[in-house]
């Protein structure tokens, strides 16, 4: 395990940050919030073809760049920092890992190259709802499917198996739903005797979700850091009672507590990313741990950022609210903190 960022990793971070600053500023995000798809296809195309972001952690034999999860975590942190609103998490994290772990070589060769190239947008439809599979046909529904309306390939889990379904297959109905965090898109997908191919058992799904938890924590880290930076910058310049509000001890101490939490989250995310990359047996414990902690940190930072900004902090125009809503989404998505803490104590044998 090498924790310090290598030169290549620092360059990767810098290039992704520059790309997002240029191509998807928060102003651009606000525009995309009101579009049906919620993301900029051209930006996605460039992110795929020029920066190769979806390909990053996919093995070379499947058209990927063959980097590790450590590099992907850096990208995810930057995406979270910029509130990137595209299908990266759904396709390059959830779906890609599901296919990688499913054990079906044919499926890997069939789907991963497209995902790596960004041409196939895939997602993973999780959930506990009743869903029946009969001789290769699915019937039932899945709610809260991330990027469900954007994906052309939908991976569906049942208690036993992992299925691949084409979004345009007969019997598949996708209904986009309005989201509280308009930078994330969800859909309800119903299957009525829809043709589906089994691409593996549901058994490796635990590992897929652990990786996803770490990946989401990396995005949360970026969001939390951005919220803290925003609060600190404002505290340095905003004056009340003829002094910067950053001179008030309460503001100081809150920012200090946030820094402690953000730095701790950063340490945990780095460690967790290495655990994924090394296939470490620490992953089952650090995954719920880091997801719960990063959720609390991001929620806390996003909330304090609003309070420190005062009146303008709760306006629609101010970006503080975007981070607050994203923090709520990330906190609930893939399980809330209490759920992950309970999972943690179970996994350490209590």
């Amino acid at each position: 395990m090498r924790l310090a960022e290598s030169r290549e990793q620092r360059e990767l971070r810098a290039s992704v940050r520059k790309f997002l600053t240029d191509k998807q500023s928060l102003d651009a995000v606000r525009v995309l919030m009101d579009t049906p798809s919620g993301y900029d296809a051209a930006v996605w195309e460039q992110a795929s073809s020029q920066l190769g972001l979806p390909a990053l952690a996919i093995p070379e034999q499947y058209g990927g760049a063959g980097f590790t999860f450590v590099e992907q975590a850096i990208v995810l942190e930057e995406l979270g920092r910029a509130l990137y609103s595209g299908p990266y998490f759904a396709s390059a994290v959830l779906a890609a890992n599901a296919i990688l772990c499913c054990g079906d070589e044919q499926a890997r060769q069939a789907h991963l190259p497209g995902i790596a190239a960004g041409e196939t947008i895939a997602t993973l439809a999780l959930g506990a709802d009743e869903l029946t599979a009969e001789d290769g046909r699915l019937t039932g529904r899945r709610d809260l499917v991330l990027e469900g309306a954007t994906a052309s390939l939908i991976l569906v889990t049942t208690d036993e198996s992992l299925f691949a379904v084409a979004a345009d297959a007969p019997g598949v109905t996708v209904i986009p739903v309005a989201t509280l965090d308009q930078t994330r898109r969800l859909a309800t997908i119903t299957f009525a005797d829809a043709p589906a191919s089994v691409i593996g058992s549901a058994e490796p799904l635990v590992g897929v979700l652990d990786r996803a938890a770490v990946a989401l924590a990396a995005e949360q880290l970026g969001g939390a850091q951005a919220a803290l930076d925003m609060a600190v910058a404002y505290a340095k310049t905003r004056e009340q009672f003829n002094r910067p509000i950053g001179t008030f001890q309460t503001i100081k101490h809150r920012c200090a507590d946030l820094l402690l939490e953000v730095e701790s989250t950063r340490s945990a995310v780095q460690y967790a990313a290495w655990a994924v990359a090394d296939g470490s047996d620490e992953l089952p414990t650090i995954a719920p741990l880091v997801k719960a902690y990063a959720s609390d940190t991001f929620s806390h930072a996003a909330a304090e950022n609003i309070q420190i900004h005062g009146g303008i902090g709760f306006t629609w125009e101010h970006d503080a609210q975007l981070y607050f809503k994203r923090a709520h989404f990330d906190q609930q998505f893939l399980g809330d903190p209490a759920e992950h803490r309970e999972r943690l104590v179970q996994r350490i044998g209590i």
Binding site: D143, T179, L186, I306, G311, F314, T315, W316, Q321, Q332
Partner: protein
């Protein structure tokens, strides 16, 4: 349990109860849930506007006016009946019990009237107060400015005396109810050379005409009940200056955080109602059996009951004629921090379903999403929690500045 306030108050309560029974138009209580409330910073409860426009509400308003039960705490000569705080509290209790609405005159009743009663001339009182009681004048507040949210004394809006008029120019912000107002009470700087607090005046200006423009400020909840206002040479007669020129700070302070105790024993009702709605939600999602959720529900119920107990105690002190202290700050801090936390608890109970909004144009939200988002503003507007804690520490505990 009911607070024993002595035989006089008991008689007053009994008379009032029968008066309400006799005068409340049939069906008035069923028009809407009058005790429910819009979360400031969030969306208004559905149906409230319609219910207020209903002829039965108009009739009720007229009867209350005739019975001097609008602004009843004001002296008789101005349309009230000099009702003391205890009786106003009983009035609120009885109206709530009967499910009928109070008719209140917003900031005119809550802020402008009290300032006028303390600082204005008898001519000013005779002119301005009855117009508030009748609803002819509806006020909005012009205190905060973009650069000065917490630091009120730093207002930059200018007030220039021009003959027997004063001309007000500047920008105000966080005005609620601007759309319904025809008057604004502003704090403006009339003596730029005087020290910060000494150069201000408290002026009642028309909030109509081409010199006044305002723009709604959309909040993170999607609602927009605050405005920013642009005053471009708004003219008012000098007789609209309350408390004299350059004396505005003292006038403003008499009303800010002025706890009258009248709502002390009813303010918890809306929160109690909301709590039970949350319990229903928890049951709906099967979360009411989760031990952690149960602890959170116990916490919320406790906070609501504490509002009730504290309200009863406040009223008992008012009844004793004790001077109110910084109760206003404690009350504001208590309910706003409570409501912020309640929104988080509610969204935790709702879980994943809280990620989804109702369909519709704009940014419609569920009740709990609305509480969750609007709750963020509660600890900021009209005095942040930090300002409230400063006030409590310095005025109630006497800690040095």
């Amino acid at each position: 349990m009911e607070l024993d306030l002595g035989p006089d108050i008991a008689d007053f309560r009994a008379d009032l109860r029968s008066w309400v029974a006799a005068n409340a138009p049939a069906g008035l209580a069923d028009l809407t849930d009058w005790q429910s409330f819009g979360v400031t910073g969030g969306n208004r409860p559905v149906g409230l506007d319609a219910a207020q426009a209903d002829p039965r509400h108009q009739e009720w308003e007229q009867r209350l006016t005739d019975a001097r039960l609008v602004c009843p705490q004001w002296p008789a000569e101005y349309g009230g009946q000099g009702m003391d705080g205890v009786r106003v509290a009983v009035l609120n209790e009885e109206f709530a019990r009967a499910g009928v609405p109070r008719v209140v005159r917003g900031m005119g009743e809550g802020f402008v009237g009290p300032a006028i009663l303390v600082h204005a001339t008898s001519e000013q009182k005779a002119h301005f107060l009855p117009r508030i009681v009748s609803g002819e004048d509806v006020y909005c507040q012009g205190f905060s400015e973009p650069g000065h949210g917490s630091d009120l004394a730093a207002v930059e809006t200018r007030g220039v005396v021009d003959g027997d008029q004063i001309v007000v120019t500047g920008q105000k912000v966080w005005t609620s109810g601007a759309a319904k107002a025809n008057m604004m009470f502003v704090l403006c700087r009339t003596d730029p050379d005087a020290p910060k607090h000494s150069g201000l005046s408290y002026v009642l200006i028309p909030f109509t005409g081409p010199e006044v423009t305002y723009r709604p400020i959309r909040q993170m909840s999607g609602a927009a009940e605050f405005c920013e206002d642009f005053l471009d040479g708004v003219r008012a007669p000098l007789t609209n200056v309350i408390g004299g020129l350059h004396n505005g700070w003292r006038v403003a302070m008499t009303t800010l955080g002025h706890e009258r105790g009248g709502r002390a024993t009813v303010q918890h009702l809306r929160f109690e109602q909301e709590f039970w709605a949350l319990v229903d939600t928890a049951r709906k999602y099967g979360r009411h059996t989760d031990p952690i959720v149960r602890q959170q529900l116990a916490w919320a119920y406790t906070q609501v009951q504490l509002m009730k107990y504290s309200g009863v105690r406040t009223l008992a002190q008012v009844a004793e004629g004790r001077q109110p202290g910084p109760e206003a700050s404690i009350t504001k801090l208590f309910w706003s921090e409570y409501h912020k936390r309640l929104g988080e608890i509610a969204m935790n109970i709702v879980g994943g379903a809280g990620l989804v909004r109702p369909d519709g144009d704009g940014y419609p939200t569920t009740d709990w999403q609305n509480v969750y988002l609007a709750g963020r503003s509660g600890t900021i507007y009209s005095g942040t929690s930090e300002i409230q804690r400063n006030i409590i520490a310095e005025r109630a505990l006497g800690l040095p500045r």
